[in-house]
């Protein structure tokens, strides 16, 4: 399969089930909301080293609970308990501290974890709760859902945060590899992919700028390391290890995608791959572990042939 001169390899991406929460961070203006969201999703590239994977979802929400500008954040953790721990730390230190910011749950779910009900103690007894009960929410219509808010007094007024936030099973580790003929062309293609995926709802790209240069393989020659550099894709190692790189490939960048559902991840992969294909890009590949570890497999050719949407799981 060839798209715009780029070969789509007959391979698949292997993704995993993680717990996901979706928060909505509002502030007096979009810049302040972005500051808080960027801070709370910092150092959240990989579940292995960071405790959670988190990022800002591209499309902003059509409406917010308090009517102010806002951004959506997705955060992924191994378990609901670990996710709660990460959210309490991150919201407590990066959103509560950010000027004018508020933090709302944006994922209706049967399972919930504590957020504001833990952070409220910062109020030292002066915190107050407000409940949007089902009757009020029904009357308000639109996007208003029943919720309990905590209002925590802070020096610029009040920090408002949902008492609990919903947690669902999400999909983490959707990916594709961009194999380019020059470093510049590869980077340009990666940026096009990131821009295209930024328009897809329900997904994040947790790595810096959405681009990964240090793809990994499972295991290492060193006993203590569970993962090490993806040597088959390192251009400087092509002469000394079994390589996956054709002779004309000079650089590889990976796009990693986490999403609310497999369909969201598939849609993002399709949008990203289509944007990345073009002059200077020899191939599109994907990372997997032989299909034994991950719950979700995204086969590139069926995905792109179908025009997107459906995940081959």
């Amino acid at each position: 399969m060839v798209i715009a001169g780029t070969l789509i390899e007959d391979t698949y991406a292997e993704a995993f089930a993680l717990r996901v929460a979706r928060l909505l961070i509002t502030a007096d203006d979009t810049g302040l909301a972005r500051t808080a969201a960027t801070a709370m999703t910092g150092f959240a590239a990989s579940i292995i080293g960071c405790g959670c994977e988190a990022g800002i979802e591209g499309p902003p929400p059509p409406d917010t609970p308090d009517g102010r500008p806002g951004l959506r954040v997705l955060a992924f953790g191994r378990t609901a308990a670990e996710l709660q721990d990460q959210l309490v730390r991150r919201v407590g230190n990066c959103v509560m501290t950010a000027a004018t910011a508020a933090c709302y749950d944006d994922l209706p779910a049967d399972e919930t974890v504590r957020l504001g009900s833990r952070l409220r103690f910062f109020g030292d007894g002066h915190q107050a709760s407000k409940r949007v009960d089902p009757a009020l929410a029904a009357l308000a219509g639109g996007t208003v859902r029943p919720r309990r808010l905590w209002r925590i007094p802070v020096m610029d007024g009040e920090f408002v945060v949902d008492a609990r936030c919903g947690v669902r099973k999400g999909v983490a580790g959707g990916n594709f590899l961009i194999l380019g003929r020059t470093p510049g062309a590869t980077l340009d293609a990666a940026r096009r992919a990131v821009a295209a995926i930024g328009a897809v709802a329900g997904v994040i790209m947790p790595f810096p700028g959405g681009i990964v240069r240090s793809g990994s393989k499972v295991g290492s020659r060193y006993r203590r390391l569970v993962a090490s550099t993806n040597s088959a894709y390192c251009p400087t190692l092509r002469a000394v290890v079994p390589t996956a790189l054709p002779g004309d490939v000079a650089s590889v960048l990976e796009i990693v995608i986490d999403g609310l559902t497999a369909a969201d991840v598939a849609a993002a992969m399709v949008a990203g791959i289509r944007a990345a294909c073009g002059p200077g890009i020899a191939r599109i590949g994907a990372g997997n572990y032989g299909g034994r570890l991950g719950k979700h497999l995204f086969h590139l050719r069926p995905l792109l042939g179908a025009g997107g949407g459906k995940a081959a799981t």
Partner: protein, 265 residues
């Protein structure tokens, strides 16, 4: 199916001066019933001990059909009941309701919606005393005026009073939200413990409330959306408006608040 209840004129009831206990008329009890079934239903809740019988039937239990002409008004929304007529002689309408919608196209007597825990009670006319007393959830919208002690000892939920509120509105509030379109009478929010009283007209609270500066309250947006959804006219720009905040009642710890809409906001 939704029911429409039209009040039959009961001159003998009016002459007695006694209030009818309307606590049995709730969506919880009437929801899903056909008009005929509703007609046969006992109008007076067996669980309501202090029933004052308004009809010539003495202590006999009246059926709802004795008091109202009941039909299906065609509204497809379930658990919706509309009452037409002057219900000012009927106490405790909607008391204890937990779901659905009860709309009264007229005034109501005392303690409407008392102890309600959910659902929506809309009163197009005036409410008597103690509307929403002790409620623990749901929404009461009074488009007209309210008698004394509206939302007395409310624990959760929302009460809106569109007209003048009588003395001691929001007195002994435990929590919840009371929105007053007009400046309330004396004793407003006296002895409130927690909760929020919002006043949309200039107003100076009593001496046991302390001024706590100006503030915005963007978290109130769901309340404005809900009141807008109920067709309540609200001041333009209220969602982003500034409020003067008072903490109180200081005699009860000062955890409650009165938010007064600023005129220039």
């Amino acid at each position: 199916m939704s029911l429409r209840l039209r009040w039959r004129s009961r001159p003998e009831a009016a002459a007695s001066g006694l209030a009818l206990d309307g606590a049995a008329i709730t969506p919880d009890r009437l929801g899903g019933l056909s008009p005929l079934d509703a007609t046969r239903l006992a109008a007076l809740a067996a669980a309501a001990p202090a029933v004052t019988e308004p009809t010539a039937a003495g202590r006999d239990v009246a059926t709802l059909g004795d008091l109202f002409a009941i039909d299906d008004d065609g509204d497809p929304a379930p658990d919706t009941i509309t009452i037409e007529g002057d219900m000012r002689g009927v106490a405790r309408l909607g008391a204890g309701m937990s779901r659905g919608r009860l709309r009264v196209r007229g005034g109501v007597g005392s303690r409407a919606g008392s102890s309600m825990s959910g659902g929506r009670l809309e009163i197009d006319g005036d409410a008597g005393t103690r509307a929403g007393e002790g409620m623990t959830g749901g929404v009461i919208v009074v488009r007209g005026a309210a008698g004394a002690m509206a939302a007395f000892r409310m624990r959760r939920g929302t009460v809106f009073i569109g007209g003048a509120a009588g003395a001691a509105a929001g007195a002994a509030l435990i929590a919840g939200t009371l929105v007053l379109a007009r400046a309330p009478g004396p004793g407003a929010a006296a002895l409130m413990r927690r909760g929020t009283v919002v006043v949309l007209e200039p107003f100076v609270p009593g001496a046991t409330f302390a001024a706590a500066g100006r503030t915005t309250a963007p978290w109130l947006k769901p309340w404005w959306d809900a009141l807008g959804g109920a067709g309540v006219p609200l001041p333009a720009g209220v969602a982003g408006a500034r409020f003067t905040r008072y903490s109180g009642d200081l005699a009860e710890g000062g955890h409650g608040e009165i938010l007064i809409l600023e005129e220039d906001s």
